[in-house]
């Protein structure tokens, strides 16, 4: 494991990465003002991904670290991808329709404390008003 710190980025390399990050930030902002339709999201996330990769590889030294460290670094991202993608697999493919006649409670824009939300005493056998 002594190999871990045998090679390190130099100051010029750090400055280069810094410059790239600033430039990419600028590009992100400029692209946001253009209309690329759904690609706006893809580009924004893609640039964020590139910036992250630069920070991880160079500022966080992962490029020069052991394979195990690289795996640990990738694990978090991979597991987050599972969470987001499988949740979206539900929310984007639902075909549910609102319940007939269900009307949400009026939206009070300056709500009071929770005691002001009425607690309906529940009699057995009676359907609840709040669904």
């Amino acid at each position: 494991m002594e190999l871990e710190h045998s090679h390190h980025p130099t100051v010029p390399l750090y400055l280069l990465v810094f410059g790239a990050l600033i430039v990419l930030t600028g590009i992100t902002v400029l692209v946001a003002f253009q209309d690329f339709g759904v690609m706006n999201n893809v580009i924004a996330l893609g640039i964020a991904g590139i910036k992250t990769t630069l920070v991880v590889l160079f500022f966080m030294h992962v490029k020069y670290s052991s394979r195990l460290t690289k795996m640990f670094a990738a694990a978090g991202a991979f597991w987050l991808a599972i969470l987001i993608s499988f949740t979206l697999s539900d929310t984007l493919t639902r075909k549910s329709h609102p319940v007939q006649g269900w009307v949400p409670l009026p939206f009070v824009q300056t709500p009071g404390p929770i005691e002001s939300v009425p607690f309906v005493e529940h009699q057995p056998g009676q359907a609840s008003e709040h669904h």
């Binding site: 600033i22 930030t25 920070v55 929310t91």
Partner: protein
């Protein structure tokens, strides 16, 4: 697993190696893996709220765009640059420690701390502005604009404050950890032989930067082309 760890339990003469480790190399490896495991956990911690954000953005795109327009892109962009700069100064601090450059180390740690405070100061300005415009859910939220359903804009701002608030909390914790590190650096505790705390803190600080790298486009840069 390195065979160099094969020796009997002996008293360590190196005060920078804890008793449970055989040698410096094992300690460094353990501490690095430990920090990365912690960061992996942090990715999932923030990831939960990012997931919620993603779901609601897909449900209420117009309200999210309307809410995002009230965020100041200049302040957000400035803060992004500030954080990236603080990552640079942090990386340079680690570099200084690796080369036993004490004064440089202290300088770059102080610079990182300073940039962190600048970031937090801008956030205070932003949050104050939100308060004045009644955009803090739970504290007199009021949305009277024609675009966006008030309920759904409130959800946008709920996520805005949850995500940036959690991020700011992590920055405050980072600043709090930086203070004793700066003190120890001034006292000359770090050198090429022992700089792991600086490096490990650096990993944490860079992670906090990465969270903001995603927060900025997701929160501030929605629907700008429609303006």
């Amino acid at each position: 697993m390195s065979e160099s760890h094969a020796h009997a339990v002996v008293a360590h003469h190196d005060p920078t190696v804890a008793h449970q480790f055989d040698d410096k190399a094992q300690q460094t490896e353990a501490v690095t893996l430990g920090m990365w495991a912690f960061l992996a956990q942090e990715v999932l911690f923030f990831g939960a709220v990012f997931t919620g954000y993603t779901v609601y953005r897909s449900y209420y795109p117009d309200s999210f765009i309307a809410g995002s327009h009230h965020l100041d892109i200049k302040l957000g962009g400035f803060n992004t640059a500030v954080l990236i700069a603080s990552s640079l100064t942090m990386a340079l601090a680690v570099h200084a420690a690796q080369n036993t450059k004490r004064i440089r180390l202290v300088f770059f740690l102080l610079a990182t701390l300073f940039l962190g405070f600048v970031f937090l100061g801008v956030k205070v300005i932003e949050y104050g502005d939100k308060f004045h415009h009644h955009l803090i859910p739970g504290l007199g939220f009021l949305w009277a604009e024609p675009h966006g359903d008030p309920k759904h804009v409130q959800i946008f701002y709920s996520f805005y404050f949850a995500m940036t608030g959690m991020h700011a909390l992590h920055m405050i914790i980072g600043a709090a950890i930086l203070l004793p590190l700066i003190w120890m650096a001034i006292r000359g505790r770090f050198s090429a032989a022992y700089y792991a705390p600086i490096e490990m803190f650096g990993l944490y600080w860079h992670f906090v930067d990465i969270v903001w790298i995603f927060l900025f486009p997701l929160l501030y840069l929605l629907g700008l082309h429609a303006q």
